[in-house]
Symmetry: C2
Subunit: 457 residues, 2 copies
């Protein structure tokens, strides 16, 4: 499959993703309308914000211009919160006014499956090609760049505290999926960007991956995608990101026959050749962000074995089952480690892998930490998995984090209760050496992908 155009680079998308000025066409004072919601989301933007609406002279004290042609400067990025019927004319005005990029929310294009919709989308693509305007959408939720306070979107991505150094760039073709995944921010995951591209008539997920690969604010990329207009563009983009030190976790959606058919209806795009994609392929979308956090925090694996340390026999057994199912090896520790485990743990504990420190460990944190140290020190293990229950003292997590950092190996904390404790989640996410997983399957699927380059056979 030949590539019709090379992916865009960060410089090509600078005015889209790092705008100094943004114009909102269809700005509205009604907070429930598309234009009102987009305005609310743009209020945090640190750059210059211009409003366009021919029926208003101001909204909330901000001047409103009748058209893009009347703005005081050529806007870097224009957000179009207007119906499909007006979109082409406004895009031409944007290009004429010297705008750099446009985000199109409107639906009714290729996703309808009708010839009219497809033709309308081809006209948008032609405008982008002819004018050099970089176009996101149509039928998209929008884009956010946390560093700039930019949220050029009609849905609000959740705000969160900044945790420098472990930022995930989230790329999702589907806006609803991007929005759903971005909610991980509320439990402490730090996103540098949330980028959705909908029907992708110009900019697509491959272009976003390229741009993030050169963005110093992004440490790892989480990518969800359905189909692409030019599927062959994705593999080189992922390759570029990996080479630039931005590991990618990706989850393809629409891979079943019914899924492919629905993708055709939804965005009229084609499936990528999954075998050609470099990165960590995640089986279930629920684990995508967690896998990306593993990549952002973990560095390269130093050994293919995984040690399991639990405060209960049952959760340890669950872990080795999930490991086996994901193809992750859980070897027995060396004799020196066994000796250290025996010294650290009660006589009725299991000084092996999985290591059951028993419920006593919840009352004797020092024995849990001594066991963690012994397992992390063993050269046959590249990572530690610790199933975590609600009765365990969260302060022990800080000790495990410190040991993991000392040994240069990640400690994956698998939350086993059927109910989250947000404070504990945030504590885990804030640590550079702890990775939170909410399912055992998700944890070992991610570890399998992370360890694949060094897994024997």
């Amino acid at each position: 499959m030949s590539i019709l155009r090379a992916p865009y680079r960060a410089a090509d998308l600078r005015r889209l993703l790092q705008p100094a000025s943004v114009a909102l066409v269809g700005a509205s004072a009604d907070p429930r309308s598309l234009g009102g919601r987009a305005l609310a989301n743009l209020r945090g933007f640190g750059g210059r914000l211009h409003l366009v609406n021919p029926r208003r002279s101001e909204i909330d004290g901000r001047p409103c211009r009748p058209s893009v042609a009347d703005l005081p400067e050529p806007p870097d990025c224009v957000v179009l919160a207007i119906p499909m019927e007006q979109t082409e004319a406004v895009l031409l005005q944007c290009a004429a006014a010297g705008a750099g990029a446009a985000v199109v929310f409107a639906s009714g294009y290729a996703e309808t499956g009708t010839p009219e919709g497809q033709q309308a989308q081809q006209r948008l693509a032609a405008i982008a090609t002819a004018t050099g305007l970089r176009l996101v959408g149509p039928n998209c939720v929008g884009v956010a760049n946390r560093g700039l306070g930019l949220q050029a979107a009609f849905a609000g991505f959740p705000a969160h505290e900044d945790a420098p150094g472990r930022r995930i760039g989230l790329v999702s073709q589907s806006g609803a999926l991007g929005l759903a995944l971005s909610q991980a921010a509320e439990r402490g995951v730090c996103f540098s960007h949330v980028l959705s591209c909908g029907n992708s008539c110009d900019v697509d997920v491959a272009d976003f991956v390229m741009a993030l690969a050169e963005d110093p604010g992004c440490d790892a990329i989480a990518l969800g995608f359905e189909g692409l207009q030019e599927p062959a563009r994705l593999a080189p983009a992922l390759q570029f990101a990996v080479v630039r030190g931005r590991p990618v976790a990706f989850c393809p959606v629409g891979i079943s026959a019914a899924g492919r058919e629905a993708v055709r209806f939804h965005t009229a795009t084609l499936a990528a050749d999954l075998a050609s994609l470099r990165g960590l392929r995640v089986a279930a979308i629920e684990s995508l962000v967690e896998a990306a956090v593993l990549l952002a925090k973990a560095g390269r694996p130093v050994a293919p074995g995984v040690a399991v340390l639990s405060a209960s026999g049952g959760t340890g057994i669950l872990a080795v089952d999930a490991a086996a199912s994901a193809g992750v090896v859980t070897p027995q520790p060396g004799p020196a480690t066994v000796q250290r485990l025996r010294a650290a743990l009660p006589a009725f504990a299991a000084a092996r892998n999985p290591c059951d420190a028993t419920a006593q460990a919840t009352r004797h944190p020092e024995s849990m930490l001594a066991a963690a140290d012994a397992l992390l020190a063993d050269e046959c293990f590249g990572a530690l998995v610790v199933p975590w229950g609600r009765s365990q003292d969260p302060a022990v997590l800080d000790g495990i984090a410190e040991l993991a950092a000392q040994h240069g190996k990640p400690a994956c904390i698998v939350w086993t209760p059927q109910f989250p404790l947000v404070d504990v989640f945030r504590r885990i996410e804030a640590s550079p050496s702890l990775v939170l997983f909410q399912s055992m399957r998700g944890c070992f699927d991610a570890l399998a992908g992370w360890m694949a380059p060094i897994t024997p056979g």
Copy 2:
């Protein structure tokens, strides 16, 4: 494999699970100790509670007796919060005093993998057999029967509001897993019982299933187990439960080679013949309770097809992928349904399966409900799956619940955001026709199991 003894019936376990009186041996005023925690958990018990501790005359104003022999009545159930060394002597006292059952928390038995531990456990089993005392444990967390306010356990199972008619009996060999699963109560799942049996030297999970099958407080059973002393007892117990109208969702743990080895170390038991077990087998423990809730609420499936209705294309595609992977069919609706969908939805929506009602549906609940009605009315569908995002109005859930009830088909709400909204979760759990799932895989795995009896081929 021959069965050495038949499973216990509800009548055999009456004094254990429906005690009029409970004695706590090892009662303590220290809230951090095993005996102190057990006492705190027993405070809500509606029956008569007796305390035993030779070193105290009272705790918190309750009299403390020196031994079980000194109690004012033969206790139905005795909870032993004492070390392994004292356990055999106290069990013999319990039997002599006319107690009916005992719960043994102590560790150090077969789970150590040592001959001494195995022999000590055989002596406990021999006491149970010889005296008729029904024994739970050793190495167990305990049992709870919500209807009696009974929590004979050293760990606290979460309290929750009562939602009559859809109560899950939770049976878990592992106490830690039982505890973790019981946390679903905090998001609105109603448990009639939480029963753990640890090493299962006398009472095992098969016996618990038998007892729940005859308990009017229990509507469906969620069962997690590792290995059994007598694996052949489990299949007839599940058969009995299903015949008695208590559908069972079960998740075997310790099924990999490493898992079986860890089970042998942990509880020294054997794997059951999974193919012989009737019920809904769940692949991932995270979905066990959700699957049991489906069984409790859904009745029998009337058609093998599943319809998907979403407010976004991406989540609908995710759903049909998960359906395909689980072997659930998602057929196209009949022409009458398509006509109704077209009338209900915007022109750019997908009037097919998966049905993408588009983001407009979040602003026009009536179109979402009309689409749900059309899909539920179609005779090719036995269930509706609705991926749910945070921006959707929870009030619409009540409308979907009503339609699902009218059509006698369950509506599975799949929560897509990476962060829970507990109020919405409780609203879903409280409905008799809505079933909450927190992962798409978990939803379709459960639907596949539920529909298996009518799935063609």
